[in-house]
Amino acid sequence: MAARGPGSRAGNSRFAQFKLVLLGESAVGKSSLVLRFVKDQFDDYRESTIGAAFLTQTISLDDSTTVKFEIWDTAGQERYKSLAPMYYRNANCAVVVYDITQASSLDKAKAWVKELQRQANENIIIALAGNKLDLVTEQPDKRAIPAADAEAYAREAGLLFFETSAKTSENVKELFTAIAKKLPLDQAGPRNPRSGPRAGVDLRPEAPGTQGAGACSC
């Protein structure tokens, strides 16, 4: 099964580890979402991500279930586009982010969703996140994308959907928790300890549609 989220049951508790990738246009707040989720911090002024950042965060779904995310926070600029397959190739889940005050950012998000559905792991769980909700709460006229529109699109494409604010942390935890709940915890094999994220990698069948060049299992 595709899930490389090895899980384990020791007594009552379950542990699973999943690879998550964030995609979206530049300056929509991908890094801010991650920083809020991982460190519960927020910077008003952030410099652009260069390349990609790798972070981990563990959450408890309930008393007995722990999920660890290995998060790839990618840079949104066009020039990094060719590197993206490397990050989503074995991902179990993806968060595609757009900025609810920038109409064009949703188009970009849709393009990412399309690419993921075509090229990534076929069981990948995708969440659509409309970020910068705080701006709209302050000034409703700043909103460029009605929540209903995005939600309709998400439903149609089979995505989880949240409007979030990394600044106020609204819906951030909820977003990641919802993803965790949707992940196939039960099929997970034994936990693969530290030795490596690499070791237990999944190895999804090379579907015909997959990235040619990116097919190596680095």
Binding site: S26, S31, L35, V38, K39, Q41, D43, R46, E47, S48, T49, I50, G51, A52, A53, F54, L55, T56, I71, D73, A75, G76, Q77, E78, R79, Y80, L83, M86, R194, G196, P197, R198, C216, C218
Partner: protein, 672 residues
Amino acid sequence: MGSSPTASRSSSNNCIRQPNASGQASQADDHGNTTMTVGEDQMSAEEVEAPQEGMGAVKATVEDRDDDGYRPPLPPRPNLSKTPERPTTPGGLNTSHRRPSLLSKPTTAVSSIDIQTLSFPDGSRGTFSTPASRSVSESAALDTPGSMTPKGKHSQNGSEGDDTTSLMSYAPTMKGTGDLASLLNDDINAQSPAWRLLSSKADTVNPFEAIDYENTSLLNFENEFNEIAPVDSKGGNEEELLTQFKAKYKHYLCLSSAGKPIYSRHGDQNLINGYIGIIQTLISFYEGSKDPLHGFTAGGTRFVIFIAGPLYFVAISRLGESDAQLRSQLEALYMQILSTLTLPTLTHLFSNRPNTDLRRPLEGTETLLSSLADTFTKGSPSALLSALECLKLRKSQRYVINNTLLKARTEKLLYGLIVAGGRLVSVVRPKRHSLHPSDLQLIFNMLFEAGGVKAGGGENWIPLCLPGFNNRGYLYMYVSFLSAYDDGQDGEERPSTPGSSAREDEIAVLLISAEKESFYELKQMRDDVVSQLEKNGSMDIIKAAVRQGRPSTADIVPGTQLRHFLYKSRANVQYTMPSFNPYFNGLLPQRRLMNLYNNLHAQIHAKHSHLKVLHSVSRDSVSLAWSTPLFEFYCVAGPNASRASIAHGANKVIQWVKREEERVFIIGGAVF
């Protein structure tokens, strides 16, 4: 003087001088290495290699004659101002120049040196020797007649002596001394007791301490890095923004040859568009006539232009930097652009569409360009000297760290580095590839000056082109930060808290590979390296060294009047310096210090100048630059410091560096 450098160098035959006993100093000369006056026509080979002992000797001479009271005391300032005339004045110093065989006179040590006083734009003056006539100290020549012959011979065959002498041994040390000697002795000699009393009291005045109300050169420099707000759509605030814009000391502009703006440090597009148009017209006009424009001056502002293929770079500076310095800053900006795009991509973009808007492909790297630009504007010794600084560690400790890296090395590794706050701790590299300082400058800028990578709070995988290594392709860099103040184990998370610690405290592990898929492999290597470093205690050593910071000048040379120095080892392309504390703390004092270093550096490196030693006196500081094939040295002291005390301090510092060489520099590095 027993402690003078000379004494410690006894292994080299003639290094031993007994400065105090002027009569004995002669021994040195039997070997013909020291020399006295050298005719005008022979020179550089000899005194190019100026060095430590020289200074000792200089000091010696000074003291000798001091005791003799040979010359009548004179107030120093007038004396200094006369310097330019010396070469032409009959008698006095000049006599020795005409009579190289001058023997028995323990007069003014030396010299066939032409001394000129140069006024800098900021009102300071520097005295320096011209290339035309070089001299060597006579200090060693106050001696027995027997020594004369070899010396005479030597002076006629300057080059011969050099051929036979090893660069590393006594030879360089002994020669060229004269430059310093001649520069440094008479002034002190000439002080009346009253003056000496006065200045001994004032010795404690530090550079730039006296507030000079007439000096407005760096007025409002604190505002230099404040952002200029965008022009609002109605243009109502334009005037005010222009005032702010013009108040900046430094601007960097980058535009395409078609006149499209690419980058400007200050001001948004609406503000700079007009200027971009003007500058493009100017440059294109000269380009059109095949006579490229390199720079021009308008009022107190210098414009320097650097053209790289389809890109025009312009530096606009009111900080008094030299053209060469500004040009190297522009080159660094160009390297940053290449590092983002690679040369083939850049060329391709413009050959396809000459009016490409490069801002889009460069999106997100403006902060890197700006932090690079700000580093130059604040003044960076590393950029000035094109050299790297290393974390001071014991040789054996560094050896352990190097080996740890080598042992954990994976197949795909190209370069492995440990860097602490912009200072290199350890490098491993393939035998055939060295690391180019300009590439490291880009990396350090990205990691330690720009906040983006560090603030991400995780591990990073960064594609980048290192133009010095290969400007045609990308390498991939794994980066993770550790804080020097973070002693606890942080297990799987190895990240720094954004903004919580200053750049100086950040320790980063950088692993560079040509393989874009090697992240997990390098991450594993990083884990191994860090756990091994923790196990063998190296991590604590590194952290302690980082926390300790740079030593102060007083730690290095107790009681010295030197307040700061830069020492660059040419062979290692590395430099070392003391802490800016306590004398140059803060933006402004640091900028003033760097202005001074910039001036010294520019003089020493001026085209066609064979200037080796420069002693510069200004109202608020006294400084010395000294260039040899082995090192470049710059130092500064308070305005009342005597030449002798500066020379002495410089000498001591150089001895210290020599002694600590394998600690303050990475020599060789670890190679695989």
